[in-house]
């Protein structure tokens, strides 16, 4: 089980019952993050220790994945010019992901 390069803690991935897809890297806000092919982007970010994904509109409170079924829209990220719930997107090698705040800053 590969240790994530962005998290100091032991991995949250549990391999007792499953053989994962190949280990690879995705790009998150320009930085490489270890992930496994096919797992949801939300899970990959979560396992990498990136639990905060955005800020709430009025209170600017930190938010992250919540319902994991594409309903709550808390885990929104930008993937290839589309704003999508990260929990519904399977990670692929080299996938470029931007968090909402990062992209908003980039575009000015």
């Amino acid at each position: 089980m590969k240790k994530s390069s962005t998290s100091p803690a032991p991995s949250l991935r549990a391999d007792q019952a499953v053989r994962r897809g190949p280990a690879m890297q995705i790009l998150v806000d320009g930085c490489p993050v270890d992930a496994f092919e096919g797992e949801s982007v939300a899970a990959a970010l979560f396992a990498a220790g990136r639990r905060e994904l955005r800020r709430s509109p009025r209170d600017h409170a930190p938010r992250g994945m919540f319902c994991l079924m594409g309903s709550c829209q808390e885990c929104l990220v930008w993937i290839e010019a589309r704003k999508l719930p990260a929990c519904q997107v399977p990670a692929a090698a080299g996938m470029e992901i931007e968090t909402l705040g990062f992209r908003e800053q980039r575009l000015g």
Binding site: R13, Q16, V18, A43, P57, A61, Q88, P90
Partner: protein
């Protein structure tokens, strides 16, 4: 999306969980042309979630009954040749039942003769201080994380809320090598004992429940009945979870000890709410039944709604559990086949009665579980004023109460006055709880109603709907008067 697909579809099924998948299979066997649509990558819904693409079940390891059931269903669907559109979201349905989808290749519309909505439920989480912190996830969410993504919510997780998912998640965490800091259950041991008669027909589940209890005991996991979460705050290695003792309505017991647990994750859920997005959009009649999860389409036992050609099945039609959902799907399929003239009255009556007889026992169990998950008025009453209720728009309980005091009498007025429900989740996350809060002022859930159903059913972008075009492609009706 303007050009509708010409292939004649008799029945379009939205949702490939236990109800929808079984309905599709049954409808096909009745000779109907079926199209099965699901936003997920494969069939199974929530309860039988497929593994992520590219993952394989480990060999030489015993897999859960649920995993095997899900795999079997997916295999059966695969063999059936039923047209399945996975990874497609339904974003609009017209009054003719024309269904507008968005998928990897863009938008497309289908015009079936009948529509079956088997979209299941969403999770209800009653707000408490700190519930929006990253790392606090739903109980059903934790189930998905464990069973599908094969990932722990944290190294040390507090599991809280109500219903059968509590033990399932706690055990899933232990099996996956994690630690359960505590299990906080709003129910009492007595509440659980009362569900025993419904389990009479399911010795396997009784056995599983006992195993789960035993494992938790062996692992030394504190199991606190009649306890809820008062608040979660960031601190230490993650969170400090303040538990509180509650009465049977979920109301905190004053003066009782408040244990504090250190954890790095919280999985919390207070039941499931039937998804009525599509049926509300189509203006079907609905009724409120707390014991079935809340608002549901007003339907007959086979799922016929007040809108001709529109059927509902599964937990989305009223919580009755996964086993009952499959049978309900079949009931809807035979009803539809009969209504479309493809099944004789006698054959229909025979099948209907046979299926109904099969449905009762699993439904009884499912309903008992739904009872454990029902919204308790004390949990709603104890939501603090400054707690966010509408996550999308940061609307607090105080703002909802203020709107009510000023005269907001129904959910749509509440929405107009507070923005509660105007965000990207379209009221799915907050709607049930916000309605419960407003109902305290107004008098009943029936009186406050629901948010009016609107398209899009899921967010779609302008680009996705507009497609590729030039200025000349824009169909301009006549210009406005001078």
């Amino acid at each position: 999306m303007v050009d509708v697909r010409p292939a004649p579809i008799d029945l379009l099924v939205i949702g490939a969980g236990p109800a929808g998948a079984r309905a599709a299979l049954r409808a096909q066997s009745c000779g109907l042309e079926v199209l099965l649509v699901d936003e997920n990558g494969d069939a199974g819904g929530q309860v039988w979630r497929p593994l992520p693409p590219g993952f394989k079940r480990a060999a030489g390891v015993p897999h859960s009954a649920e995993a095997l059931q899900g795999d079997a269903l997916r295999a059966e669907l695969g063999r059936s040749g039923i047209q399945c559109l996975f990874g497609h979201k339904v974003w609009n349905v017209g009054s003719s039942l024309r269904t507008d989808l968005i998928g990897p290749e863009g938008v497309a519309s289908w015009q079936p003769r009948a529509l079956l909505v088997a979209t299941g439920t969403t999770e209800r989480v009653v707000p408490f201080a700190g519930w929006t912190l990253p790392g606090v996830i739903g109980l059903a969410a934790a189930t998905i994380l464990l069973k599908s993504q094969n990932m722990l919510p944290g190294r040390r997780t507090v599991v809280a809320g109500s219903g059968p998912l509590l033990l399932a998640v706690a055990n899933g965490i232990l099996k996956a090598g994690g630690e359960v800091t505590a299990v906080l259950d709003l129910a009492s041991r007595g509440d659980w004992l009362q569900t025993l008669p419904s389990l009479a027909s399911r010795p396997d589940l009784l056995w599983q429940g006992a195993q789960w209890q035993a494992r938790l005991r062996r692992a030394g996991v504190p199991m606190l009945y009649r306890h809820g979460i008062a608040s979660v705050e960031a601190g230490g290695k993650g969170f400090r979870v303040h538990a509180q003792q509650v009465d049977k309505t979920g109301m905190p017991v004053p003066g009782a000890a408040s244990p504090i647990f250190e954890a790095d994750a919280v999985a919390v859920g207070h039941g499931l709410v039937p998804g009525t997005d599509v049926t509300r959009l189509l203006r079907a009649r609905h009724r409120y039944e707390a014991s079935r999860g809340g608002w549901i389409a007003d339907a007959d036992p086979q799922g016929r709604t007040s809108v001709a050609g529109l059927y509902v099945a599964g937990d989305g039609a009223g919580i009755a559990g996964a086993a009952a959902a499959g049978i309900h799907g079949e009931l809807a399929a035979v009803a539809c086949a009969h209504d479309l003239g493809r099944l004789s009255a006698e054959a229909h009556t025979r099948e209907r009665d046979r299926l109904l007889a099969q449905w009762h026992k699993p439904a009884r169990f499912g309903r008992a579980m739904a009872g454990l998950m029902a919204l308790r008025e004390g949990t709603v009453a104890s939501i603090a004023s400054d707690t966010v209720v509408c996550r999308c728009e940061d609307v607090t309980r105080a703002e909802i109460d203020a709107a009510a005091r000023e005269g907001a009498r129904d959910m749509n007025q509440l929405k107009a006055w507070t923005r509660c429900g105007m965000g990207p989740c379209q009221g799915r996350t907050c709607g049930d709880v916000a309605a419960a809060v407003l109902a305290v002022h107004v008098g009943s859930r029936e009186a406050v109603g629901c948010f009016t159903g609107r398209a899009p059913l899921r967010p779609v972008s302008l680009a996705e709907v507009a497609g590729n075009y030039t200025y000349a492609d824009i169909p301009i009706p006549k210009a406005a008067p001078l």
